[in-house]
Structure formats: C-alpha cells, structure tokens
C-alpha cells in the first residue's frame, strides 16, 4: 500500500516536471534549427541564431534589462529591509496599515499600474521621465511587495532575545543590525531580491507603457519582433535569457545562501 503511494507520488512528480520543462525543450531545440520555421528535433544543427544575437538590436535591450534588473533588485532590497524593519521588527505605530499599503501593489493588475504610472508622470509634467527612470520606478513599485514580504517573514522569525543579547554586550543599533539582524535575515532578503531581479528582467505588462524608442527592454523587443516574424532567433533569445537568469540565481544564491543549510538555531 505504502509502496503504491510512493510509486504514484513519484509518477505525479515526474509528470509535473515534464509538463514544466518540455516546452523549454522545444524552445531549446528550435533555437538550433537552420530553417526559419520552428521545428521540434531539427535534422541539422546550427548556431547561426546565437551569432545573430551579437548585434546591437538585441544587445542594447539586453543591457538595458540587466541594468534595470540590477538597479531594481538593489533598490527594492534596500527599501524592503527598511520597510520590513520598521513594520515587522520595530512595530512602528500603525504598522499593520503600513504593511498593507506596502503590499497593496500586488493586488493591482500590472496593466493598471502601468497606466497609472504613465498618467501620474504626465499629469505632474514629468513626461521626460518615461524611459529608464520611469521603468526603474515602476519596477520598484512592482517588486517591493515581494521583498518586503520575504524580509518581513524573516524578521518575524527573528529571536529578539538575540538583539537583547547583543545590546547588553554593548552593540549600538547600527551594530546590531549589521552583525546580528542582517546576517540572520539574509537568506529571506536575498530570495526577495532574486524575485525582484527575475520579475523586473522578464516584465512585459508594465514596461510596455514606459519604454521609449532606443530605450526598450529585452522582453518588449521580443514582443515587437514577434509582431513581424516568428523565427528561431526568438528561441535563441529565450534560451540566452534563461541561461542568464539561471546564472543570476546562482550568483544570488552564492552571496545570499538562501537555500543553503543554515548554521543556525540556538535550540
């Protein structure tokens, strides 16, 4: 009976994994196909589409997306820690209301947020901010709730007696944050920042309102390209971004160690 359950469980797991990864396999295969039609299992293999990526047409949007994702994840990380600290840790007056406010962008559709940012910027006459500055702002609004949520969860789990212990040993508030609080919430913070990075890098619905000619993110460039042709260069773009994001996750993981077995638990 037990064995049957284990067997069923494993089959289900394999099915889910296949369901998630098979489309990727198709895309990867297509990116090596010499014909411009997307085919599964091409008879010949070529790297020509990857070579085509080395062109400012793709490189510029890629660099903009990277710049955006880096700025957005760092800024969300910083703001997220400050927000989570005052809300979840220091429990400032009205902390539940502030928490709700910080998380509220999550419940607004991205299209609505995009329109709202454009309308806001133009109504206060800062139309010039469309493009990179607007993208940065909008992406921060989009990703901040994730970082706040993760950092706050980590801070709720933080044993405040550790703060007292550090305090009686003479640590000032900045020393306590630096040496005790931050290292202990680091994994939560970094997983939040990883989310922010990926969400920003892949975003379409919000970016579409804010890009300008010459300042276009990679996903938007892909969408634009898609309007005219469906050729394997798109598959190559997707595979390249996939690899890039994997690399970014590994890097964040190296610094933040959010999945590593943590040297922890005083009990």
């Amino acid at each position: 009976m037990n064995r049957l359950l284990t067997y069923l469980f494993r089959t289900a797991l394999a099915a889910i994994l296949a369901f998630i990864t098979l489309p990727l396999v198709v895309v990867v295969a297509a990116s090596f196909s010499p014909t411009s039609a997307v085919t599964f299992l091409p008879s010949e293999w070529t790297l020509q589409w990857y070579a085509a990526l080395w062109d400012s047409r793709w490189l510029d949007p890629f660099l903009l997306s990277v710049e955006l994702a880096v700025i957005v994840s760092l800024a969300s990380g910083l703001l997220g820690v400050l927000g989570a600290y005052s809300v979840a840790y220091a429990k400032c007056p009205g902390h539940t209301a502030i928490m709700a406010l910080l998380l509220s962008p999550m419940s607004v559709p991205q299209i609505v947020k995009g329109v709202a940012v454009v309308l806001f910027l133009s109504s206060i006459g800062l139309y010039d901010l469309l493009g990179t500055p607007g993208l940065v702002m909008a992406h921060i609004i989009l990703t901040l709730p994730y970082v706040v949520r993760m950092a706050a969860t980590a801070m709720f789990g933080f044993d405040k007696r550790l703060d007292r212990a550090a305090r009686i040993l003479g640590a000032s508030v900045t020393q306590r944050i630096r040496y005790v609080l931050l290292p202990l919430i680091r994994s939560g913070l970094f997983s939040g920042m990883t989310f922010a990075f990926i969400i920003s890098f892949n975003n379409i619905p919000l970016s579409v309102f804010l890009v300008r000619p010459g300042q276009t993110t990679l996903p938007i460039t892909v969408i634009n390209h898609l309007e005219y042709s469906l050729d394997p260069v798109l598959a190559a773009v997707n595979v390249a971004s996939l690899l890039f994001i994997l690399g970014a996750i590994i890097l964040f993981e190296k610094i933040g160690g959010f999945s590593a077995q943590f040297h922890g638990g005083s009990k």
Binding site: F262, G264, S266, K267
Partner: protein, 362 residues
C-alpha cells in the same frame, strides 16, 4: 569596607494596572554572589530587566557603581547578562560569540583573541572555538553563554535561571563551576532562580521575593535557620508549619499552643517576635529527633511521644510522618541507620529543642 555595586531604591514596576515589582530596595555588595529567589511570576526577571535597562522602573531609582541609570540604555551599562535560553548568535562560531562584546568595543584583533581564549578557559571550553552553537550540547552552550558574558569583563553579571534547561547532574556540576568562576574573577553575580537548593548552594546572600516584594534577605544559613515568614520557611527547605499562639512561660521561654491548644511546646524566646503577634510556628524536619539519638537531649528540649504513620526511605535519610500528642502530624528527617526501629504504627519518643521551635508573625 564593602562598596555597593548595584543599588535599587524603592523601585516599582507596573504593567498596566498590575504592580509586578512593588517598592523594592536592595544593595548588592561588590564581588558577592547574590541570589534572587522566588516562585514563578514573582517578578524576578522583571527586576533583572530593570537592572539591565530593558525595562524602565515605573518609579524609584537604580544605581550602578554609584551612578543613577535613568535614561542609560543597556548597551551603555557595562554589565553582563546570561539568558535562560542562552541566546547565542546562531550564525557565529563560539569564538565569534565570545568575542562579540570586545569587538563592539572596537578592541584590536589580538586583544579580542586574548579575551576569547581567557573566557573560554575559565569555562573549560578550550578547543571549541570554531564550532557553531547548534553543534554543542546544552551544557556547552551554557558555558559559551557564560563565557560571552564575562569576556568584556563587566563588573556585574546578571544570570536569569541559567541552569534551568540542564539535567540534574549537569546542573549540580555547573553550580560548583559558576561559583568557582565568580570567586576567581571576583565579579558580582546576581543570580535569579526559583530553585532554593541552587540558591543555598552558591550564594553569599539570598533575596527571597514573593509577589513583587522582598520577603527576606540575608545569608543562606540565616534564612534557613530563622525564616521570618511562613512563606519563606515553606519555600526554603522543608518544614513543619503550624498555626500557633504564644504566651510568656517559665525561664524567659514562651509557651506555644498548637492545634487549638491540644499540644503545647516550649520555645526559646527570640527577640524579634512579640508573643501576641505569633501566628505560626515552624519546625524543621531535622529538628524533630528521636529522643534516644546522641545529643538529642543536650540542650533544653520538648519531649513528645508519637506514632509513626508513614516512612519514606531517601537513601541517606528517612522521612517519617509522626502523629504526636494533641493530634498534630510532624514531618521528621532521621538518619537512615535507624531505619529498623521505624515502621508504620510503632511508638517513638521524640525530642525537639526549644531553640528549634521558631515563631512567625505571618
């Protein structure tokens, strides 16, 4: 002359409408081991937290090394604190934990390393520098917590039930060690516990707390030998506590009536209690002796006969409940060499020294 390290002047603490600590005044002499002893919820931790600066007193003053501490945050008080759950930093090695205080003071690297190895040496934990707390046993974590607190050499160390998470054997070993550490360093220890044996074993002075006030303060032997209230008598050690009244008797002694006058004992007159105020009488079980025992009748004593009701063998001692004349039951502690003489139902002659009959007002 003794200097006073920590002084509480009429300190009270109120949480909402509840007065948790009520007008406590204490003077803790430098270099002494002082225990704050009391049942759960009597305000021990609250008192400690006020000394450490985590809670501000609602009224009264706390002085450390002669200075009023109002408005001084914990990080500036230069005292050590050992937490009940140890509160070790899980992401730091033993050495980093122990060196934390010195590092926060901005000491140079060599000095920190020096302080760490000295502190680890005094808790007998050399060689554990690179372990993480979760790789240590409870007793070892306890030692790290003590080492971390003493490494910056505070003049006072506060300990909040530091041994309560350890098993009995380890607890008894750690008592001895803590006392040795305290004597070696000459540090003032304020030790909070609800375990009277622990307090008796280690302290130079014991402060017994009850419901937010100090019930009695003194050397362990004084508190054990002459408890001032029935609460203290009951809390410290075992005792027979009986409602009683007293009147002056012969030879400057007092006549004590127990059990509504059915039994009368003679008590040596103490100076502190007026006969009219006597409400209770306390007799320690080891003072209820067999009359034939050597030395039992060396000093003036009450003689009683009784019937053994129940005997419990505790190894070195036996505990026996005796029903004596007047229908009163007394608990007695007797060396177990006399075990063969005692079994339920047999008659015994008992002796209770006049001086062992203690009179209490409340």
């Amino acid at each position: 002359m003794t200097t006073i390290d920590i002084e509480l002047l009429s300190v009270s603490k109120q949480f909402g409408a509840n007065r948790i600590v009520d007008d406590i005044s204490l003077a803790i002499p430098k270099g002494k081991f002082v225990s704050i002893l009391g049942p759960s919820g009597c305000g021990k931790t609250t008192t400690l937290n006020m000394i450490a600066g985590f809670e501000a007193p609602s009224s009264g003053q706390i002085r450390i090394r002669g200075r009023d501490q109002e408005g001084v945050p914990p990080e500036a008080r230069k005292i050590g604190l050992v937490f009940q759950n140890y509160a070790l930093f899980p992401h730091m090695t033993v050495a980093q934990n122990v060196g934390f205080g010195l590092k926060m003071q901005g000491r140079p690297r060599e000095e920190i390393a020096d302080g760490v190895s000295r502190a680890l040496k005094s808790v007998h934990l050399e060689g554990f520098e690179d372990r993480y707390p979760k790789e240590l046993s409870g007793g070892q974590q306890q030692r790290v917590a003590v080492a971390r607190a003493i490494a910056p050499s505070p003049s006072v160390l506060l300990l909040d039930e530091p041994l309560s998470n350890l098993d009995l054997k380890l607890r008894e070993a750690m008592r001895v060690e803590l006392k040795e550490i305290q004597e070696d360093l000459g540090m003032t220890f304020i030790y909070v516990t609800h375990d009277q044996e622990e307090a008796m074993a280690m302290s130079d002075r014991i402060i017994v707390m009850q419901g937010g006030v100090v019930a009695q303060e003194g050397a362990p032997a004084d508190i054990y030998g002459s408890p001032r209230t029935s609460f203290v008598a009951d809390f410290i050690g075992k005792s027979n506590i009986l409602p009683a009244s007293a009147e002056p008797g012969a030879d400057r002694n007092l006549k004590v009536s127990l059990g509504a006058g059915k039994a009368v004992l003679t008590a040596a007159r103490g100076d502190d209690v007026a006969p009219d105020n006597v409400r209770f009488c306390c007799i320690r079980p080891e003072a209820v002796r067999l009359a034939e025992a050597a030395g039992a009748l060396d000093e003036p004593a009450n003689r009683l006969t009784g019937t053994v009701q129940k005997v419990v063998n505790l190894g070195a001692y036996i505990e026996a409940w005796m029903l004596v004349d007047g229908g009163i039951t007394l608990k007695s502690m007797i060396r177990s060499t006399r075990l063969e003489k005692l079994s339920a139902g047999c008659r015994v002659d008992l002796a209770i020294a006049h001086s062992a009959v203690q009179l209490l007002e409340q």
